[in-house]
């Protein structure tokens, strides 16, 4: 009995599909997100690398009267004036204490730029996009708004913050 040969066009289509599927797998593998991981107290947080403009050592922060407590003040960054905020205070937690490891992470999103005082910058890493999970449902609504996701890093649970939504929430609360 003569074996039926698939049409050439079917073979070509099959090959095209196979290659596309391989391409997708490769793309998924390659979809990396750059993240800046830092700590506040014992908690691990991260910001997207694209939102982080620079990381500075802590300098004297000049307080500005008539602003909320979480607004720590302003600093001179090579002739530019930047604000500095304390996320912990904004979330109703004890204020961030400075130490030699403390850093000011300058973040920018939607045209708003501000420094964020952190205890320590732990790492700058590339993470596969699919490793970032949805934020846990037990988070308070006020915090959940500016949490973009969560991921595991060296046995720690890291909360990924959305800088744009964080800044938005800070102005909204007034």
């Amino acid at each position: 009995m003569e074996e039926t040969q698939p049409f050439k066009s079917d073979r070509i289509l099959e090959e095209i599909r196979k290659r596309k599927s391989q391409d997708q797998d490769t793309q998924q593998e390659e979809e990396q997100v750059k993240l800046v991981v830092f700590t506040l107290e014992d908690h691990y947080y991260a910001l997207k690398g694209g939102d982080v403009k620079e990381i500075l050592t802590v300098q004297k922060i000049s307080r500005v009267p008539g602003t909320p407590e979480f607004m720590l003040g302003i600093i001179n960054v090579r002739g530019d004036i930047q604000s500095v905020i304390d996320i912990n205070l904004f979330m109703g937690l004890p204020s961030t204490q400075t130490s030699p490891d403390s850093r000011i992470v300058i973040a920018e999103n939607n045209g708003v730029r501000s420094g964020i005082l952190v205890d320590r910058v732990q790492d700058v890493l590339d993470m596969p996009g699919n490793a970032i999970q949805q934020p846990i449902s037990t988070l308070k609504d006020s915090i959940r708004y500016f949490v973009a996701g969560e991921f595991a890093y060296r046995h720690h649970n890291v909360t990924l913050l959305d800088a744009g939504k964080l800044f938005e929430k800070m102005t909204e609360n007034l």
Binding site: M71, I74, I81, R113
Partner: protein, 156 residues
Amino acid sequence: MTTALEKFTIEGFQALLFRVQDILFAVDLEHIDELLELHQLEVGGDRLRRFDRLLPFGSAPVIYRDPRILTVHYRGSRLLMQIDQPEDITFIRLENMHPLPALLDRVRETDFIWGVGLVREAPVLLVDCLKIAAACQQDGSLAGNAILNSETHAKT
């Protein structure tokens, strides 16, 4: 035709620098009539406005170490503002002035601080005395004239 007014460009302003609670402020010297010591104020002390009450400094008490009084005339009234530790008079150039950072600008409670100057690389908060005087006039707390015993000799 170009008028004299159109030719006028602001290069900066002569500023009085002072410090309250270790924060450096600057006011436009053009807006200041007098810089007095506390003892030169004889009557109307109730009309004296402490700087830290005009610009909320938070819950911690503000201690004045070397208090002085700035007098600012505004539309027929006079603002008597108690400041602390006058430090210097310096010209702040326009290129050394910056608007408030966007986030801070959105969360501030008053518009008395309108920008930031850099003096010897240190940030200095630029305060608009006339805006303060206008606000005080609106709430009726500006002093009338003739409340300073030393009005004549203070100017000399």
